[in-house]
């Protein structure tokens, strides 16, 4: 990210609160994401990472707080509404239909039509161009997804996400099910997306991956912000320390930390 005057954030969440029964899952959580930025969201289990992202996509409804997308206040009631606003989420298990082929999966639920029928020629042609844009190798758009390896299935999931021309892509534990090779390829794909100006949020346990491609890392602990650092001003050790022993009182934002 350029250090000069920051552009308008693409996503801004302020004072988000969420309660499940007796459990306070999120307590006054803030999040900022700038265009073209890769933000790593880390924290221990039950820190509220996934909950925060589900509130952003509209899968959960927040109890309090505000969300702005490109400066506009929004209130998504379902993931479809956030999709219309240009926010895409890629789930840990990719959420693909194994019985259908690559092209059908990329256009899942919004197959191009020709009269009352599905326009197959257009579907496969566009699927092919999306895959080319992503620079991933999937043999054929006619291949059934269940016969693809985990890394390629993820490529299809990402291709599906970017075919919506999103401004923000959220990746939930993208490297959890991948081999080392596939992880390398995924990181390249993420940088390619960044070059195309897509902001990304990665939820991950693997700090290595976040340090490889990320611009900034944000730490959640028991539903609270406990710290926020620019990647180039920090190291894995410091982030780990924040995850383990950070508290809200000690929390500093990335810019505060840089100034020190």
């Amino acid at each position: 990210m350029p250090d000069a005057a920051l552009p308008q954030p693409i996503v801004e969440m302020r004072g988000i609160e969420k309660v499940f029964g007796a459990v306070q899952a999120l307590r006054k959580v803030d999040l900022v994401l700038y265009p073209g930025e890769i933000l790593g969201l880390v924290g221990d289990n039950s820190a509220g990472k996934s909950t925060l992202m589900k509130i952003l996509t509209g899968a959960y409804q927040r109890d309090a707080g505000e969300i702005f997308v490109a400066g506009q206040p929004v209130h998504f009631k379902s993931p479809h509404e956030s999709r219309d606003a240009g926010i895409e989420m890629i789930y840990q298990d990719f959420a693909l239909c194994g019985n259908m082929d690559v092209g059908q999966n990329i256009f899942l639920g919004r197959w191009p039509r020709k009269g009352p029928f599905v326009n197959r020629r257009k579907m496969y042609a566009e699927a092919d161009s999306v895959l080319k844009r992503l620079k991933v190798d999937v043999n054929s758009v006619f291949q059934k997804v269940e016969s693809l390896s985990g890394g390629r299935q993820q490529s299809v999931a990402i291709a599906r996400a970017i075919s919506f021309e999103p401004r923000v892509v959220i990746l939930d534990e993208p490297t959890a099910n991948l081999s080392v090779m596939a992880t390398e390829r995924l990181l390249e794909t993420m940088l390619e997306l960044k070059r195309q100006g897509v902001a990304q949020i990665i939820i991950s346990h693997r700090l290595v991956d976040i340090f490889a491609v990320g611009d900034r890392v944000m730490v959640l602990k028991r539903g609270e912000n406990v710290g926020d650092r620019h990647i180039k001003n920090t190291d894995e050790h410091e982030v780990l320390e924040i995850i383990v022993s950070g508290t809200r009182e000690q929390a500093r934002t990335a810019d505060q930390a840089k100034a020190v």
Binding site: M100, Q104, L108, F117
Partner: protein, 730 residues
């Protein structure tokens, strides 16, 4: 506790309504005696259901054991001694239990489809072995007083079966609650994955439960033989319904991990009592006018034969709904708090999905289609098997009876049989592609037929009204299926299993168990040949090709082709068809992609009912009569057709072409088996056994060859042995 109160209430209710029957101690004794056999089976079933499995075959095992015992022991058949007969029966029970268990665990066939097949195969055996006749052997029974005394009243004045049942129940309760076997069962049903990680041999635990269930049914079957000293082919019919309803009412969860033997036994008492109350009927006084005088006559209003399953089926569905909707949501506690004006108690953590279907994805076949060309490409299609089988079977028929098979009349007889099955299959293809199952198609066919026949014959309605009423009845059944499965989120197999009994019971009720016949010919035109219809409207075709065609093609075949064509195009080429496939493939992914999966499943279930309804209306018109057994075993045929035609029991696959070819395979198999080859033809009862075997073979082929690609993996292993292994692509 609530169960006990309900029990007392029903009993008192029964006693109040019909004191002569329920007031006496004999009646109470008879109730306990009849309960004892159901309770014994319920003990075994409790283990199966806690394991998150289901055993639909217990009623068949019960009947089959009684029949096999009769065949072995009766002087008119094998005339063996008592010890051998009993040992053979127990061995039979063990074998059936093992087959069920192995199919469900090691071969990974869904429990309901595996045991449904065992049920129908067992029922076929019962009919074949008895030839539909009752077998009695009271004379020889005197030679083995020790065994037959088990079914009689002992010196203490109560029936020995009650004592045996009590012993089995106590043993079962002890094993389930206090021993490792019981703990392993609860762990397996609660979370099989976790149980595996904890080192529990879950496959063995589940096989063991099937063995227990089968053995319990065997014991119950032997007791019935000891009591009645004979058997009829109707023994144990819909016994599985009684037992499963009993276990579920007794507090077991269809989702596994919950259940108690004591509850199951109480549930058994309740269901048997309800059954008795329903069967006994209501004494009523009727006023009859004879001339000028009015005479009051005492009469009994009782339900017609076959109507009882309506209530038991309803009970089953309601009992299954109680757990997720009343207990988990603490309705009673919240209602009580509301009554006292207190705030409701804290809710349990409820997961996003209250109930999950059985469907799991096991598909991992590699795409052979991509590398293949020409004929290879066709072979790689999932529906290729059905098309090839159709051709092979037809040629077999030609080979066996070259004089008769090729004949036009035979071809069109086959075509007529084919039409009914194909019509049902059209709707079922959608349901299976959407990841559900509809076990009620045969029963819905009967329901629609009986409704139409009832309006025609009893109410004297005109044909159009009759058709409308038939459609209405069938679609209502479909609506209930869809609402229970989609709206109330019950697994489709249990919802449609309930409808399987309800619809068939209602069908029998409408016609009071009789065969109805004789109504205006206008209605019967729905099942006639095209030429007959033209003649009815005084249109005479000129001689020639058009005339001969009209003389052989039936209107229902034309209609079936029309329906199949539209349904096939919609499934293959429109977004709705794609939505159905996506829903069946991965319902969560489909929902995330903005597909209304509930709508796709709802419409599919309604379509299946619609197709079965049309088949029922046509069936009545074709036969010019309605028989309560219409459509029996049709669900078996139809499911087998779809699976042979490339459908997957786990959802996401199935094409119209494949299903139609699958229906052709089943029809041809039936025709071939009925074929008289050199004076020998196979009896009808054995054919159903054969079809059951085909269904299970088709499911196994689907799981192991199409999805797990067993042959491909074997080939890969052989190839790997030949050369040094390469590092696989990530």
């Amino acid at each position: 506790m609530g169960l006990l109160a309900l029990l007392a209430l029903i009993y008192l209710g029964g006693a109040a309504v019909n004191p002569t029957f329920f007031g006496s101690p004999e009646a109470f004794h008879a109730l306990l005696r009849d309960t004892s056999r159901v309770a014994i089976i319920a003990v075994g079933m409790t283990f199966v259901i806690i394991n998150k499995d289901l055993d639909l075959s217990v009623g068949s095992i019960y009947g089959l054991v009684a029949v096999v015992f009769a065949r072995l022991f009766a002087p008119s058949f094998a005339d063996l001694d008592i010890v051998t007969s009993v040992i053979v029966c127990v061995l039979l029970g063990i074998v059936i239990g093992l087959v069920n268990g192995v199919l469900v665990t090691i071969l990974k066939v869904p429990a309901f489809i595996a045991t449904l097949t065992t049920l129908l195969i067992g029922r076929g055996f019962v009919l074949a072995l008895t030839q539909g006749q009752a077998i009695y052997y009271p004379g020889k029974a005197k030679e083995a007083p020790l065994f037959f005394h088990l079914g009689e009243t002992n010196v203490f004045g109560f029936n020995n079966q009650i004592a045996i049942s009590a012993v089995i129940a106590v043993t079962g309760a002890y094993v389930l609650a206090k021993t490792r076997w019981g703990y392993e069962t609860f762990a397996t049903g609660g979370n099989e994955q976790a149980a595996v990680y904890a080192g529990i041999p879950t496959n063995w635990v589940r096989i063991r439960a099937y063995l227990l269930s089968s053995l319990c049914a065997t014991v119950a079957g032997l007791l019935s033989a000891a009591q009645d000293k004979g058997v009829t082919p109707l023994y144990g019919v819909s016994g599985e319904l009684t037992v499963i309803a009993a276990v579920i009412i007794g507090g077991a969860s269809i989702l596994g991990g919950r259940g108690r033997v004591a509850g199951s036994c109480l549930g058994a008492t309740l269901v048997v009592l309800l059954d008795k109350v329903l069967r006994e009927g209501l004494p009523i006084t009727r006023t009859i006018k004879i001339g000028e005088e009015e005479v009051t006559v005492n009469a009994v209003y009782s339900l017609p034969v076959g109507a009882v399953p309506v209530f038991l089926g309803l009970l089953l569905v309601i009992a299954v709904l109680i757990e997720p909707y009343l207990i988990r949501r603490q309705v009673a506690a919240r209602f009580w708090a509301w009554l006292r004006g207190r705030p409701p108690p804290a809710a349990f953590e409820i997961g996003g999905v209250a109930l999950e279907g059985m469907a799991t994805k096991g598909a991992m076949a590699t795409d052979i289609a991509l590398s293949a060309t020409g004929f290879g490409k066709f072979l790689a299609r999932r529906d290729a098997l059905a098309v090839i089988l159709t051709v092979v079977l037809w040629l077999t028929g030609l080979f066996l009876r070259p004089d008769y098979w090729w004949n036009l009349s035979n071809t069109f007889a086959i075509l007529l049989n084919y039409t009914e099955l194909a019509l049902i299959t059209v709707g079922l293809t959608y349901v299976i592609a959407a990841g559900d199952i509809d076990l009620s198609v045969g029963a819905v066919l009967a329901l629609a037929g009986s409704a139409a026949a009832y309006f025609l014959k009893v109410l004297g309605a005109d044909p159009v009204t009759a058709v409308a009423m038939g459609l209405l009845a069938g679609m209502l059944a479909g609506l209930v299926n869809a609402v229970v499965a989609v709206g109330l989120k019950l697994p489709a197999f249990i919802a449609t299993l309930g409808m399987f009994y309800i619809a068939r019971g209602l069908a029998a009720w409408f016609v009071a168990g009789q065969q109805l016949t004789g109504w205006p010919e206008g209605y019967n035109l729905l099942g006639r040949k095209v030429n007959d219809i033209l003649l009815h409207f005084s249109v005479v075709l000129p001689d020639g090709i058009l005339r001969s065609l009209a003389e052989v093609v039936s209107v229902q075949t034309v209609w079936m082709v029309f329906v199949a064509l539209i349904a096939g195009i919609v499934l293959a080429y429109t977004p709705f068809g794609q939505k159905v496939y996506a829903t069946g493939g991965n319902i969560r992914a489909a929902a995330y992609a903005g597909i209304n999966t509930n709508r796709a499943r709802f419409i599919s279930l309604m379509l299946a009912a619609f197709c079965a309804t049309m088949a029922g209306i046509i069936n009545v018109a074709y036969f010019r009569s309605f028989n309560p057994v219409a459509g029996q075993f049709r669900e078996l045929d139809a499911i087998a057709s779809v699976i042979i035609g490339g459908g997957s029991i786990f959802g996401g696959y199935g094409t119209m072409l494949g299903s139609l070819a699958g229906a052709a395979v089943i029809t041809l198999v039936r025709a071939l088996l009925q074929l008289n080859v050199q004076g020998f033809s196979m009896p009808q009862h054995w054919i159903n056994v054969f079809i059951g075997v085909i269904l299970i073979a088709a499911v196994l082929i689907d799981i192991w060859v199409r999805q797990a690609n067993l042959f491909g993996r074997l080939r890969a292993r052989l190839a790997r042995r030949a050369r040094t292994p390469e590092i696989a692509d990530a």
